[in-house]
Structure formats: structure tokens, C-alpha cells
């Protein structure tokens, strides 16, 4: 028998890099089909192709025996596909009912006035069918994340979608809300809808899915009925063969404790977070998207405040009210969003480098910026990291990503810092620059600095770090020493399975 949906040889490239390579598999009607893979495996790209956001460079999609050309979002909707993205497509200033019927407004035939009552009643019916307790006349901006999710599902149903794609629907939900979503998904299956479910979380997949397809690095790995799989098997499929973690990197970790964190807690974001950082150590922080690790580190740095818990710097209790405080105590921070939170686009390479240090010199020099000292500081960092630029007054926007990143590192290194918190220090830079950053981290560790580095790419984490902690749902679910490093283990912790 022919399958309901046949995906054949789908190829997608971005600027010459394969995001998807020759993907083929079938999806059965009325099933919940989970699509799994690490960050960057190509899951979202595939879903965006089905949703008409991207166009495949090659391959075909056949639905109910008919080959479909999906060139845009409307084509996708015409095929009965509805996609619920991680960033919802709801308009917060409109009501629930208005959002559900946004593209299909019930109108009186005469004059075309909107039939508000009918719309609300229809919406109510839909919501009741889904057993969701949401007022159709409530404004979307007042809903919780999980309620918004349900509204998205109702919207899909209102359009008579037969195929509903959910892209990491549980990333921002708590356990109870996940349970509710599971109920709704089961109900939809009973109604004969086909559901494509993308998730990192193993538990949900085992609770809901009938079939699992695993992608890795943009390639198809396998499709199996859930009954033939267990957690270890899925992780093995996702990770592929073991990577070589025996690369000899000298460890400079000492016994001296720099930073201690005890029971850090912020309502609904993270809880019971405790860890230690030693001088000369590179501590890797792993976890999946939305696991709360960036938030914990930003809170320690004083970007926002935590509810309770203690932070000790070299044995003394500290609590930073602002980044200024943290900097004064020798802690620095590298953002993972270089463009929006890192560079000062209109300003020169020199000014971008000395942004922090020039102010700490303020006390000595008064209010005056000494151009000589600025130039010297830039030179110091240029020599240290071989930053490439045409001249010190050149705008930083002209530099490559790697060089911009070095400037941002230099901005923090000009002061005598003890602890360096880095979010994705190698994001968006080329391979060569990555290697330079790795050896730079080593160099800093050797000099006795304590480094906390968030890496999404586990290969990098394993390569660079001395020790790692893993987050899931705002909690530390595991810790590994260098000897224990292993992708499967990290992934198991990240998926929330304590061992």
C-alpha cells in the first residue's frame, strides 16, 4: 500500500552548505510521527519546506498519491498542512477567536460585516472540542505559552488541516502543560489527523509517537516504529558513531575554587542550580534549547536578579546588582548574540575593544579618554589574538565574524579578570577562527582564569572543556569529568534522564 505522505530525495542548500541531503521517508495516515535529531540536524528546515517557508532545491513530496509542489505558505495550506512554529504566529492584540479565524473571517453576505458572535461561538466550539479552558474573547497577549499553543492547534483545526506539524511544542511548557498537549495530540490522532512532532525530549516521544525518524547533520538516518526502539537506541541513532575525544589538550585546572554557586533559584526559569568553578578550569555547560543555562549565567553576571541562592567568589559571598558590579569583581561575560548584544556597529575597532577598560581607567585619568592608551590597549589585544583590521579607526562592522569575536573577547580581557562566562564563543565564525579561539581559551586557562563556556555543539564541548555540567528544564541534571565525556551521556542528561 502506498504511504500517505512520501518524502523523496529532498535536498536543501544554504549558500553551498547542505542543510538537507537526500532525505526520503514515508509517513502513515493518522499517525504521530516524531522527527528527532541534534541541534542543526535539519529537522526545522525540513518542516519549513513542508510549510512552504523554504523551497526544496530538489526532491519531491507526495501526499495521498499526488505529487505536490509547495512553493509558498498558501500551497502548503492547500495541501492540508498546518505548521505550528516555535515562535507562534499569533497576534497578541487580537482575541483568541479573531486569531483562530484570522484568514477565514465569518462575514454577513450583505455589506460584509464581521459576524462576531458567530465567530466567537465557532471558536468556543473548537476549544471545547479540544477540552481547552480558554475564553474565545480573551486577548492572546493575556494567555500563557501553553494556552497560546492550544490556540495555534485550534487554528489548524479551523482550517481543516489534515497534517499538523509541531516544531518543539514543549520547549517552553511545564510538565502539566505537556500532559495536556499529549491529551490533545492523542485526540487529534483519533480524529484521523496526521501529526509530525519535532522534539528533543525522549520521554514525550515515547509517550506519544507511533514512529520515529532520526536525522543527523542534514542526512536521513532511520525510521522505526517506536516499539522497536529504546532510549539508548534513539540516542545512538542521533549521535552516530562516537567522536574521538582523545585529542590531547592539556588541562590547567587547579584545586583552587574560584566560583561557587549554591541553590540558585528563579521562579519558572531555573531551580536548585549548584556548581563550582576552579581556577584554570574550562567548565563546559551543555543543554538543549530553553534549558535555562544562559539565564543562570546571565543572572550570576547581574544582568537580571535571581530569587534565592548564594554565589561565592573566592570564598566571599557576592550578589551582583548589575554587570557593572560583576565587572568590578573581575567577572566578564561574552554574549552569544554578537550582532544585537555585542558589537557597537557605528563605532571603531579601537573603541569597541576599549569599551570596558577605558572606564575602569576612569578613576586614574579622570573623565578624559587618552588616545595613546586606547591605541596601546588595542595593540596589546591585536598582538595577543592576531586580530585583523585595516586600521584602528575602522568600523567594526567591516570585520569578519571571527575578528569581531576576538574584539569582543579582547574587550573583556583587557581587565584583570578571574572568571570569564562565555555563551557560544565560536558561534557564527569559520573553522580556522574557531581553532584560534580554542587555543585562546587554553591560554587563558593556563594563566589561571576560570572559564564557564556554553556550547551547543557537543563535539566542541568535548574537545575544549575540562569538565561539564548539563542542564535540563532549568536544573543541573548531570556533571561529567573529562574522562567521562561522551555524547550519549550528555544527551541523556540533557533529555532530562538522571542517572
Amino acid at each position: 500500500m502506498e504511504s500517505y505522505i512520501q518524502i523523496r530525495n529532498i535536498v536543501k542548500q544554504f549558500y553551498g552548505v547542505y542543510a538537507l541531503k537526500d532525505i526520503s521517508f514515508n509517513i502513515a495516515k493518522g499517525s504521530v510521527h516524531a522527527i528527532m535529531g541534534e541541534n542543526g540536524a535539519g529537522k526545522s528546515t525540513l518542516m519549513k519546506i513542508l510549510g512552504g517557508v523554504y523551497q526544496a532545491d530538489g526532491g519531491s513530496i507526495t501526499i495521498q498519491g499526488k505529487e505536490q509542489r509547495i512553493n509558498n505558505v498558501n500551497d502548503s495550506a492547500a495541501c492540508g498542512i498546518s505548521v505550528i512554529y516555535q515562535e507562534f504566529n499569533l497576534i497578541s492584540e487580537l482575541t483568541v477567536a479573531e486569531n483562530i479565524y484570522i484568514s477565514d473571517i465569518p462575514r454577513k453576505t450583505f455589506l460584509g460585516f464581521v459576524e462576531k458572535k458567530k465567530r466567537s461561538a465557532n471558536a468556543k466550539e473548537l476549544l471545547e472540542f479540544l477540552e481547552i479552558d480558554v475564553d474565545p474573547d480573551a486577548y492572546v497577549k493575556d494567555l500563557t505559552v501553553s494556552e497560546k499553543q492550544m490556540v495555534e492547534i485550534a487554528k489548524s483545526l479551523s482550517r481543516n488541516a489534515d497534517i499538523i506539524i509541531m516544531d518543539e511544542p514543549t520547549a517552553a511548557l511545564n510538565e502539566e502543560e505537556v500532559k495536556k498537549l499529549e491529551d490533545v495530540v492523542n485526540m487529534l490522532r483519533k480524529e484521523g489527523k496526521t501529526i509530525l512532532y519535532i522534539s528533543h525530549r525522549l520521554k514525550e516521544v515515547f509517550d506519544m509517537a507511533d514512529t520515529v525518524t532520526v536525522l543527523r547533520n542534514g542526512e536521513y538516518v532511520d525510521t522505526k516504529p517506536i516499539g522497536e526502539l529504546n532510549e539508548t537506541a534513539i540516542i545512538k541513532l542521533m549521535v552516530g558513531h562516537e567522536i574521538d575525544s582523545s585529542i590531547n589538550r592539556q588541562s590547567y585546572a587547579t584545586e583552587r575554587v574560584l566560583l561557587e554557586v549554591y541553590n540558585l533559584h528563579l521562579e519558572n526559569v531555573f531551580a536548585e542550580v549548584s556548581f563550582k568553578l576552579h581556577a584554570g578550569e574550562i567548565l563546559g555547560v551543555a543543554g538543549l534549547m530553553g534549558c535555562g543555562r544562559e539565564e543562570v549565567l546571565a543572572a550570576i553576571y547581574g544582568l537580571f536578579q535571581y530569587d534565592s541562592g548564594r554565589v561565592l567568589l573566592e570564598g566571599k559571598e557576592v550578589s551582583f546588582k548589575s554587570p557593572k558590579d560583576a565587572i568590578a569583581h573581575g567577572i566578564c561575560f561574552l554574549t552569544d548574540d554578537r550582532k544585537d548584544e555585542g558589537i557597537l556597529p557605528q563605532m571603531s575597532v579601537e573603541e569597541n575593544t576599549t569599551l570596558i577598560s577605558i572606564r575602569s581607567a576612569e578613576k586614574k585619568l579622570g573623565f578624559y579618554v587618552d588616545p595613546k592608551s586606547e591605541a596601546e590597549q588595542l595593540k596589546q589585544m591585536t598582538d595577543f589574538m592576531s586580530i585583523k583590521y585595516a586600521n584602528p579607526k575602522q568600523k567594526i562592522s567591516y570585520l569578519s565574524g571571527g575578528n569581531q569575536q576576538k574584539v569582543l573577547l579582547g574587550r573583556n580581557l583587557l581587565l584583570d579578570n578571574k572568571v570569564f562566562i562565555m555563551l557560544e564563543p565560536t558561534r557564527g565564525i569559520d573553522v580556522g577562527a574557531k581553532e584560534e579561539i580554542y587555543s585562546l581559551l587554553s591560554q587563558l586557562a593556563k594563566e589561571g582564569m576560570g572559564i564557564i563556556a556554553v556550547f551547543s555543539d557537543m563535539n566542541e564541548l568535548i574537545k575544549v572543556c575540562d569538565r561539564a555540567i548539563v542542564f535540563c528544564d532549568g536544573k543541573v541534571t548531570g556533571g561529567l569529568t573529562r574522562e567521562e565525556f561522551n555524547k550519549e551521556k550528555i544527551l541523556t542528561f540533557a533529555a532530562g534522564r538522571k542517572r
Binding site: T335, I343, E351, R359
Partner: protein
């Protein structure tokens, strides 16, 4: 030399436009070229140029101040009221205190309440004008008894009109503040990227408030010149002033999106606008047309500014 021209192409092209306009107007009306008229133009320039220096700081920090014209009126009224009883210097001190307060209020509304600068200063513009009218009791406050005040607008030192000296001083101070101090660097960095500045330990709110205060304080000086010109404390002065000043700053090449001010450009642009206004006046062009022409210049300036901003963004996107 080529490098210099390239680097300063914006300012040089504005300067070239001034010279061409000046020659054009002079041919049409020879009275343009007289020493008297040139002095007239320069005094006219000082009025906007001084406040525009402050506004350049506001734009650099990523905000702007629509209430500046109302500050002009409030200061004028307060100075007139206090000067006649307490003397000029007490009046000046009162004016500065009021300006700082207004700046702080503007800044707090924008930073703490998170209201956009446009809406926030639109509201304070109306409020402050209201306060000025109240204090003046709806009438002009004469300053006949204070002949000395006249010096601010028409006095000379070594033959140079005092407003021009004042303008030069304000610009020297502004240049130092903008280019050579930590304050200037922080201000630019906040306007360039507020999030990055915050992460780098800059108190971004304080910088925005400071920018509003600077703008209000420069408005005090402009107000004094205007008040001395008419020798009245008037609650009606400066009604189109905010528009004039903002036109000047944008025309001068300061980025409307923040992070990059151009003080030289602001100064040249205020000369340009004064030359246009004076040239039209001296050629007996109806004042209604003057508004129209200033409006057209503003559109032109905004387009050029928009192109520059777009270029900037594209560059960031490409490289980032």
C-alpha cells in the same frame, strides 16, 4: 587630501551648498553680501546651532527631544520673572536648575516608563508650554529695566557679536565632551547598541537621562539669546523650534537611529538653514513658502539619512 575629502564628504558637500546658495542669493539681492547682513545671519545661526549641539547628543544616545521649544519658552518666562527682582545671575541659575529638572523628567519617562522618546517629549512639550503660559499669566513679561540683558544678543567682545562667541564656546565644549571623554564614548556606545552597552557594565538609563539634560541645558542658552532679542519673557517663543533644531541635526548627518553624531555637520547645517531663511527673507519671499522649503529640506535630509542608515545595517548584516 583625497582621503580628507572622502572622509568629510558629507560636511564638505553641505558647505558647498551654502556657498552656492549664498552666491545665488547675493546675485538676486546684493544686500545679502553686506557685513550687517552676514552678522545678522550668524546671530540667527547661534540660536539654533547651540540647541542643536545638545540635540546632537540626544540623537547620538538614540533619543530626541520634542520639548526643546517649550523649554525655550519656560526659561524665557522664568528668567524674566526672576531677573527683575533677584538679578540676572540668580535668574540664570534658576533657568539651569529648571532645565536640568526637565531633562531628568524627560529621561525618566523614556527609561523608567519605557515610553518612546517621541511620545514622551510630545507630552512634556505640551505640559511645559502650559506651565510657561501659567507662570507668565498669558502675557509677555517686559525686561525694559534690564538693559544689561541686551548684551547677550547684541553685545560684542572685540567686535565679535556675543552670540557667536557663545556658539563657539558651546561647540568647543561639545567637541571635547563628544570625542575625548569617557562620557562621550559611553553615550555613543549606548546609542549604537544599548544591550551591548548594558552587558559591558554601562548604566544605560543614566546616559539617556544625561543626553536629555544636555539638550535642555543648551536650550537655556538659546532661550537667553532669544529673550534678549525681544527683551520680553515670552511664553510663545520657540513654537517651531524643535522642528528647526531636529531638521538641522538630521541634515547635518547625525544618524537618526543613534550611535553616530556629527557636530561639525550640525553646525554647518544650522548655517545652511539660516542662509536659506535669510536669503528668502531678503528676496522678499513670503514666509509661508519658507516653511514649505524647510519641510522639503527635511524630507531630503531624511532620505539621505535613511540611505546611510540602510547602508550601515546592510553592512552589519553582511559582515555579522
Amino acid at each position: 587630501m583625497k582621503k580628507f575629502i572622502l572622509k568629510h564628504s558629507d560636511n564638505l558637500s553641505l558647505g558647498a551648498v551654502i556657498i552656492m546658495l549664498f552666491i545665488g542669493f547675493s546675485i538676486m539681492q546684493p544686500n545679502m553680501m553686506t557685513a550687517f547682513n552676514i552678522k545678522n545671519i550668524l546671530v540667527q545661526v547661534s540660536l539654533t546651532a547651540i540647541a542643536a549641539a545638545g540635540m546632537t547628543f540626544a540623537y547620538t544616545a538614540g533619543v530626541f527631544d520634542m520639548s526643546i521649544g517649550s523649554i525655550l519658552a519656560l526659561v524665557s518666562v522664568v528668567v524674566a520673572k526672576t531677573a527683575t527682582t533677584y538679578g540676572f545671575f540668580i535668574a540664570l541659575a534658576a533657568a539651569v536648575v529648571i532645565a536640568v529638572m526637565v531633562g531628568v523628567v524627560n529621561g525618566l519617562i523614556v527609561t523608567k516608563l519605557g515610553i518612546q522618546a517621541f511620545a514622551a517629549t510630545l507630552v512634556t512639550m505640551i505640559l511645559i508650554r502650559g506651565i510657561a503660559v501659567l507662570i507668565a499669566n498669558g502675557a509677555d513679561i517686559p525686561l525694559y529695566s534690564m538693559e544689561g540683558i541686551k548684551f547677550i544678543s547684541s553685545g560684542t567682545i572685540a567686535g565679535i557679536p556675543f552670540p557667536i562667541i557663545l556658539t563657539v564656546l558651546v561647540y568647543i565644549f561639545s567637541y571635547i565632551l563628544y570625542y575625548t571623554t569617557v562620557f562621550g564614548m559611553k553615550l555613543r556606545s549606548v546609542g549604537s547598541n544599548a544591550d551591548a552597552s548594558k552587558i559591558s557594565g554601562i548604566k544605560t538609563n543614566r546616559m539617556v537621562i544625561a543626553a536629555f539634560v544636555l539638550t535642555a541645558v543648551t536650550a537655556v542658552l538659546s532661550s537667553l539669546i532669544k529673550t534678549a532679542q525681544v527683551m520680553f519673557g515670552k511664553s510663545t517663543i520657540g513654537e517651531d523650534f524643535a522642528l528647526d533644531v531636529m531638521t538641522t541635526v538630521i541634515l547635518g548627518g547625525t544618524l537618526v537611529t543613534g550611535g553616530k553624531g556629527n557636530l561639525t555637520g550640525t553646525l554647518i547645517a544650522s548655517i545652511l538653514i539660516a542662509v536659506i531663511k535669510n536669503g528668502l527673507n531678503i528676496n522678499n519671499v513670503n514666509s509661508y513658502y519658507q516653511q514649505l522649503i524647510i519641510g522639503i529640506i527635511l524630507i531630503f535630509a531624511l532620505i539621505v539619512n535613511g540611505i546611510k542608515t540602510m547602508k550601515n545595517e546592510r553592512q552589519i548584516r553582511r559582515e555579522g
